[in-house]
């Protein structure tokens, strides 16, 4: 599949996965890969305190957006974060409740409302994303969603609120967000995992929950941290190595072989249990991810997308 076509198939991509699998790295990589096809991309962080901006070599985003990537012949990537509290106050203000918004924030009433209507904050974050989509602020909006477990809760919030607040303006907001989530031309989820047993199990659970309980269409899954194979791993280390170096090389080769065997087993299991295409991102063996590493990951994502079959 052509990467340009891939990134044009939905206007919002929600990137979700459990903690520690590289969800933010995947979000940033997808944003860069999309920008390299000429698109303007808005990368939205929901969890806050995330590292995506620094991967582009920029400062952390505030509530206001900032441009983190803008290269000639490519599109752009802008970053911003949306916090639930800000989204709630903003929404109340926009709906003619500015007086109550201030009062609620001050008196702690906000907490009671949030308790009475669980999911209200998640809904309003999604509502803000829906508004950005409607305004056409970018060709593609990529959302770095909260960690799984939370991801399901986050995506189920609109249905929960619709059923709790059965009248009032909040109900209308919930219905509008559900319309966006239900339409694959507007919104898809991409789940991220690593090729290890527990993360793969959670990926499968999350995938079924997202489709069955939320009704959100799933794009390909992103598998991060793939160890590249090495030819001749079982060979003896070269004779010119010192005994210590040779012992280290054997140990590293054994560990690599074991980890690759584990990875192959998990990738096969995932393929058998979850019939979704896979986009693979290699392990980089670097300690930090900056612009250079991000481009290397985007190369791998592009190659993965080119190998996908068209779904249109």
């Amino acid at each position: 599949m052509d990467p340009g076509q891939f990134f044009a198939s939905s206007r919002v991509l929600i990137v979700a996965g459990k903690g520690g699998v590289g969800k933010s790295t995947a979000s940033a990589t997808l944003a860069l890969a999309a920008a390299r096809t000429g698109r303007s991309v808005l990368l939205v962080e929901v969890a806050g305190r995330s590292a995506t901006a620094s991967m582009f070599g920029a400062d952390a985003p505030g509530y206001e957006e900032s441009t983190v990537y803008d290269e000639a012949d490519h599109g752009t990537v802008r970053c911003r974060s949306i916090t639930p509290d800000d989204a709630l106050v903003e929404w109340l203000t926009n709906h003619g409740f500015s007086r109550i918004a201030k009062r609620m924030a001050k008196s702690g009433l906000l907490e009671i409302v949030a308790t009475a209507t669980p999911g209200i904050k998640d809904l309003l974050v999604l509502g803000r994303i829906k508004a950005l989509e409607a305004e056409g602020v970018a060709d593609l909006i990529i959302v770095d969603a909260p960690a799984a477990g939370h991801a399901i809760q986050f995506l189920q919030a609109p249905v929960g609120v619709r059923d709790t607040a059965r009248t009032g303006v909040l109900n209308r907001q919930a219905v509008e967000v559900i319309e966006m989530l239900d339409d694959p031309t507007r919104c898809r989820a991409m789940l991220v995992s690593i090729p290890e047993e527990t993360p793969v199990n959670e990926l499968i659970e999350t995938a079924f929950a997202v489709e069955d309980e939320v009704g959100l269409a799933l794009g390909p899954v992103v598998i991060n941290g793939i160890l590249p194979p090495i030819d001749g791993l079982a060979d003896e280390p070269p004779a010119s190595l010192s005994p210590d170096e040779a012992a280290d090389a054997r140990m590293a080769a054994d560990l690599r072989r074991d980890r690759i065997a584990l990875q192959t087993e998990q990738l096969d299991r995932l393929q058998a249990r979850l019939p979704l295409a896979q986009i693979r991102m290699p392990q980089l063996f670097t300690t930090e991810i900056g612009p250079t590493e991000l481009h290397r990951l985007a190369d791998a994502v592009e190659a993965s997308i080119e190998a996908l079959e068209d779904w249109a």
Binding site: S24, G108, I112, R166
Partner: protein
């Protein structure tokens, strides 16, 4: 200062000491760093010393059952049989069931309990409110600790970016009850409050326009039904907070050497420190085995001998480069903590034998 008092001023209790002497160990840290595994291995280490240890997991994913190689865990401790002199038990926190039990315990009558349990606002609190999981984990911990059946209770905290979410959890409900609006909602017609009520009524009316009238009615019904139970909840919250801050309670920070998780780990230490709760131990999981050469030498060798085992060596050295520096940097933020490094294992942890190996690695150093 948390953790048992050191034997002398100059010694930091080892991980072994913690597993041997503590009554409560709280494992905290971000997701994906092996927190659940560490919690289970810690309880297992205590069982190996002949103690009666229970581990509570609050993770919605069934990771602990996976690691223990058993199918299902319930809301009460399940004893895991194995070749250890003590007792090892595990449970998977059922947030709603635990909350229901707490309400029943504090209610003045069965009828009061049933009214609350049937209320929709309560059902929201007990199932979907963020923080409820932490709150009920602390409740469960306090319940197991006070039962006298366990020498050590280990708790695996939910993945969160904020260490203090767990510490603030016991106040979840009392904070709602301390809200001035609560007093107004429960006494809508008392004379002295009439003026306050006029303002409150206008707030309630506006609220109804936002969230719908049923939601507001449910909330008012909940607060009215709750009357008489406030003191019980407050006392319990105070008692559990005291337990969390007690000398026989230790906080263990679990991390991995990856740059992003160490940033989060430092933030955790900072938050714990601000609450006067120093981490008694830092566990760094998934540490790559140490090499005799550095990354630069490995890269040199790789240039001479591309591919094969030397490539594996160079990748390993590059990935490990800086890990040590970052771990040392993290530890500088926790001067009073003992450190346990658990190497990256060749397979996933999904059986009792691997867990025992980790328990040994934690306590031998």
């Amino acid at each position: 200062m948390s953790g048992p008092a050191p034997a002398s001023m100059s010694t930091i209790p080892s991980y072994r000491d913690l597993a041997e002497r503590c009554e409560v160990i709280v494992c905290c840290g971000t997701g994906g760093v092996g927190k659940t595994t560490t919690a289970a291995a810690t309880a297992m280490a205590a069982a190996a010393m002949g103690r009666r240890a229970a581990v509570v997991t609050i993770d919605p994913a069934k990771r602990l059952a996976d690691a223990l190689g058993i199918g299902e865990l319930g809301n009460d401790p399940t004893v895991i049989e194995g070749p250890w002199p003590g007792t090892l038990a595990a449970l998977m926190l059922d947030t709603k069931a635990t909350f229901d039990a707490v309400v029943r315990r504090h209610a003045g009558s069965d009828q009061q309990a049933e009214t609350i349990l049937a209320n929709r606002f309560y059902r929201n609190i007990s199932t979907s409110l963020s923080g409820t999981q932490d709150y009920m984990a602390v409740e469960k911990l306090a319940e197991l600790h006070s039962s006298g059946e366990w020498d050590l209770v280990v708790v695996d905290t939910p993945p969160t970016r904020d260490a203090l979410a767990f510490l603030e959890a016991p106040k979840l409900l009392t904070r709602l009850l301390d809200n001035p609006i609560y007093r107004v909602l429960i006494s809508p017609s008392k004379g002295v409050l009439r003026a306050v009520n006029r303002a409150a009524t206008s707030v309630v009316r506006q609220l109804s326009r936002v969230v719908g009238a049923e939601v507001v009615d449910d909330a008012i019904e909940f607060f009215q039904a709750f009357q008489g139970m406030e003191d019980g909840f407050r006392e319990r919250a105070d008692a559990t907070l005291t337990l969390l801050g007690a000398d026989q309670t230790a906080f263990v920070l679990v991390a991995s050497p990856r740059a992003d998780t160490l940033v989060e780990a430092k933030y955790f230490l900072d938050r714990l420190g601000k609450a006067d709760l120093d981490a008694a131990a830092v566990v760094v999981n998934r540490v790559l085995p140490t090499l005799s050469i550095d990354a630069a030498r490995a890269a040199e060798l790789q240039a001479l001998h591309p591919g094969g085992p030397v490539q594996a060596l160079a990748d390993h050295a590059a990935a490990a480069a800086g890990d040590d520096d970052r771990i040392v940097d993290l530890l500088s933020a926790a001067p009073g903590a003992t450190v346990a490094r658990v190497p990256l294992l060749p397979s996933d942890v999904h059986d009792v034998d691997t867990l025992r190996r980790i328990a040994e690695l934690l306590t031998e150093g």
